[in-house]
């Protein structure tokens, strides 16, 4: 089978002509292979992002199956990350996937993001999200934040590698605050999958000019009304993470 035909439909889009090559040259670090991370990583591998570092310390249980579509009944009890890798490699045998069955913290962040310019925060709790925001900022690695419940989703690209971006738009903690909390809410398969696809799409656009119009914005998805609103991000000089005269330890 001729591999170069795999991306033919994607290549028909003018801005995406070289996208598969660009994706192949990069390594993406993804935190979470559940409701968002599973399908998102699958779509990315399909688009040509063959080099992925992916982290998830969970084990598959029955309540995952309705929305974590990479996993089957036979996988119940197995480590998510192993089954995820299996599916990705089955999609494209050239996929070069490094798995991390552990929580990502300061201790393993360097190793986890080795060779990566971009981290996808597809984790499932606010503490991890604030921590990843901090770590990505401190290490000047770009971050895509995506979070979802049954009603709404949030999506934003933080270009931490660009000090001009930081000056103007700040970080996730600027808008959420260092004491942010969330209530645990329900979620459906279709919504999780819909947002996974938007995340994958945004990730792809990072590697093309289409990202320009999305720089400095956060997108709020109203999943019931089918509407998307965008807001401009704004940096807070008092932010504990990225504020001025603050050294991040």
């Amino acid at each position: 089978m001729n591999n170069t035909n795999r991306y033919a439909r994607q290549q028909m889009i003018p801005e995406y002509q070289d996208l598969d090559k660009r994706l192949e040259q990069n390594r993406i670090a993804i935190v979470g292979s559940g409701g968002l991370g599973g399908l998102c990583s699958y779509l990315l591998v399909g688009a040509g992002a063959l080099n992925i570092n992916i982290a998830d310390y969970d084990t598959i249980d029955e309540t995952n199956l309705h929305r974590q579509i990479l996993y089957r009944e036979k996988d119940i009890g197995e480590k998510k990350i192993n089954c995820c890798k299996r599916e990705l490699v089955e999609l494209d045998k050239r996929a070069n996937i490094n798995t991390f069955a552990e929580k990502i913290t300061k201790a393993n962040f360097q190793k986890f993001t080795e060779g990566c310019r971009l981290v996808l925060d597809l984790s499932d709790n606010i503490e991890t999200r604030l921590s990843l925001n901090s770590l990505c900022f401190a290490n000047r690695i770009d971050l895509i934040h995506a979070s979802v419940t049954a009603e709404t989703a949030l999506l934003a690209y933080f270009k931490f590698s660009d000090s001009k971006f930081i000056d103007e738009y700040g970080c996730y903690e600027c808008l959420a605050g260092e004491n942010a909390t969330t209530a645990k809410k329900g979620i459906t398969g279709p919504f999780a999958s819909a947002v996974s696809a938007f995340v994958a799409n945004l990730t792809m656009q990072v590697f093309t000019d289409r990202i320009t119009e999305k720089l400095g914005k956060i997108y709020l998805f109203d999943l019931n009304r089918f509407s998307i609103k965008s807001f401009s991000l704004k940096k807070s000089p008092l932010c504990k993470c990225c504020g001025t005269s603050k050294e991040v330890s």
Binding site: K234, K235, L238
Partner: protein, 66 residues
């Protein structure tokens, strides 16, 4: 004075800060984020941010699921 809040026009008293407005709505500030005229107002700025006539205020829940 009138402002637009989450799609509806409402009447609020003058000299209200975003912080006070959130308290009046009985919302827990830790669980939400806010934008005025389509620009995020950072959490740390809420206590100094005075609402003006005609502003469009959007308040939405922070979500963390993945």
């Amino acid at each position: 004075m009138k402002i637009n809040y989450n799609g509806s026009t409402i009447e609020i008293k003058d000299n209200l800060t975003l912080h006070s407005f959130v308290l009046e709505l009985q919302l827990e500030s830790r669980t939400i984020a806010a934008a005025v005229n389509e620009q995020i107002v950072p959490k740390k700025n809420w206590e100094k941010f005075y609402l003006q006539e005609g502003m469009t205020v959007d308040i939405f829940n922070l979500v963390a699921g993945g």
